[in-house]
Amino acid sequence: MSPFARLCDRVDRGLAAIETVIIATLAVIGIGLGTMQVVLRYVFNTGFEWNEAYFVLATVTAILMAGSRAVRDDMHVRVDVIKMIVPAATARVLDLIAHAASLALCAFYVWCGFLYVNFTRAMDTASPETGLKDWLVYSIMPSILVLFCIRYLLRIRATWLGHDVAPHGDGVA
């Protein structure tokens, strides 16, 4: 294994570990806060205004983190009809273009997100419920999109080498 391959492998595992810890922790916090809201309202006839805001924040962060995992597992739905009918070599080229387009978009979003965070920072607004500065909350998503970018880079490399991931799982809708 070349040093670069080892680095890629290490990045992949490191990211996976971070994703797992954050998703699991925040999902549990989300369950806790959601339950607390119901219990406080009905058992104690009270509640905190910040409860819902923090619940949403924890949940959204967990799910966006899972979006990065979904890049690794190829779970971002795509219509791969064409891929099924063209020769394998062509399919690989198409995949490379598709991954590159995804990478470009995510990178562009990171930049837009950076400008947006700067803007909200200049406006210096805060959430009325939690008192958290808006720019702090809004920087979560561009930060996670950086992880999307890393994941797409890893996938471009894998596709280039011809060992890209297995197809996606159960899906949704």
């Binding site: 369950i31 959601g34 119901v38 949940t59 219509v79 064409i82 598709a98 950076f114 949704v172």
Partner: protein, 440 residues
């Protein structure tokens, strides 16, 4: 011109196999950079500032709940229960499949999750009992799509989010069409089994039914908690125990409670779930939701861009100028969704088309809640039509059979889907009767 470039870019990205989310966002970004600039910070705002919406948070938790139900042994016990009562009928195991899908649908908000949850247990059982693989696949992919009609339903949550309709009301509207759909599927299960002359199971004595009933009781609590939680009970007063009536939580809170209960039942009642399993289950389910959220956020940017271009207003104006009757409009919508459904799955379909069609539907006088149910049944159909049909993919994964085999199996059952679609489209009362009864 701008609109044309947008559409061409979108289809180009779809065809090369870019994720739907990337096709939506990439088409907007490229078009805007070339022709009609949106300030980058506004793109940042549209992509980053719209996801923190309480209603959307129901989605991950309904996902977690159904995954935990499957892993924690709740689904298996619900299936055993259904089987104990109808297993001896002609096509009894087919009917069990449909009933299990209905049960599971009452906690799961996703059709593919329903197909996977029920299919992993029912497919081998059906085949072992002498049903053909096609029969088993057909029953699973079509009955499984009931998952999004019977509440909770993730596409309905998204629809409510996009159209600012009440999710609770939409949920209620899906119940009657869902039950009709289920009944139709059971008739089909019987009919196809009789034609194929599948062997029947022996009838269980009442004594033998007691065990599966007891075993399933805790699992049955889950749908009960969700339904009572969201819709409430009538007032009662029994001296010490009194209740004012009314619901206990919003759909989002119901999703959290369902997750918690599935966790507790799996861990402490059935003891089939360890804390580690539960965490694994959540971490492996979350990426599906991450995918939905990434599509949602890109679709919001897409919707903003087409609104800015004036497209929804133009489409509404054009449809109004045709002077269509509501039924003609709805027929047109059904045909359009049939075509879209070949290629796209539910959530992106709603996010892309509802912002355009909804104002037109309201303008020709279609009830927003009724329209929501029509959209959902169309999506159910799309889930079982190739080339892109998620239920087909999942069933193929569960059974090890080719995707096309699943589609051939589904063909006779789809007669029911289409009948229900037509019924729901042209008889608004089927959707509106229950919410009207409860809310007015």
């Amino acid at each position: 011109m701008t609109a044309l470039v947008l559409v061409v870019l979108f289809f180009f990205l779809i065809v090369i196999g870019a994720p739907v989310a990337v096709a939506l966002g990439g088409a907007v970004v490229a078009t805007s950079l070339m022709l009609d600039p949106i300030p980058a910070a506004i793109i940042g705002q549209k992509v980053f500032a719209n996801l923190d919406h309480f209603t959307l948070m129901a989605i991950p938790f309904f996902f977690f709940a159904s995954a935990l139900m499957e892993t924690g042994g709740l689904v298996r016990r619900l299936i055993d229960l259904a089987n104990a009562f109808v297993g001896h009928w002609t096509g009894g195991l087919g009917v069990t499949t449909v009933l299990s899908c209905i049960f599971f649908a009452a906690i799961s908000g996703s059709s593919p999750a329903t197909v996977a949850g029920v299919g992993r247990i029912m497919y081998p059982t059906l085949v072992k009992d002498g049903y053909t693989p096609r029969y088993a696949l057909g029953a699973l992919v079509t009955a499984g799509s009931i998952g999004i009609l019977i509440p909770p339903s993730i596409p309905l949550i998204i629809y409510g989010f996009v159209t600012e309709s009440s999710v609770t009301r939409l949920f209620m509207a899906g119940v009657v069409p869902g039950l009709i759909y289920g009944a139709g599927m059971m008739v089909m299960a019987w009919f196809l089994a009789r034609k194929a002359d599948v062997p029947r199971r022996p009838r269980l004595a009442w004594g033998e039914r007691r065990a599966p009933i007891w075993a399933a009781l805790p699992a049955l609590m889950l749908p009960l908690v969700i339904l009572v939680g969201i819709y409430g009970l009538p007032k009662f007063d029994l001296g010490i125990l009194s209740y004012q009536g009314g619901a206990i939580f919003t759909p989002t809170e119901a999703a959290v409670m369902a997750t918690l209960l599935a966790l507790l039942i799996g861990m402490f009642v059935y003891r089939e779930l360890t804390a580690r399993d539960a965490i694994n289950c959540i971490v492996s389910t979350a990426p599906s939701v991450g995918m939905i959220f990434f599509i949602t956020t890109n679709a919001l940017l897409f919707a903003f861009f087409i609104t800015k271009l004036g497209i929804p207003a133009a489409v509404t104006g054009w449809i109004m100028s045709l002077g269509l009757e509501p039924w003609q409009f709805l027929l047109m919508v059904n045909l359009m969704f049939l075509i879209v459904g070949f290629f796209l799955e539910g959530v992106p379909t709603i996010l892309m088309f509802v912002p355009v069609l909804f104002p037109a539907a309201v303008a020709v006088g279609v009830d927003p809640v009724h329209f929501g149910i029509i959209v959902i049944v169309n999506i159910e159909l799309g889930l079982v039509t190739p080339p892109v049909g998620l239920n087909l993919f999942v069933a193929s994964g569960v059974s090890g059979q080719p995707v096309l085999e699943a589609f051939y199996g589904a063909l006779p059952w789809m007669v029911v889907t289409i009948c229900v679609l037509l019924l729901v489209t042209f008889v608004p009362e089927l959707s509106l009767w229950l919410p009207d009864l409860i809310f007015n």
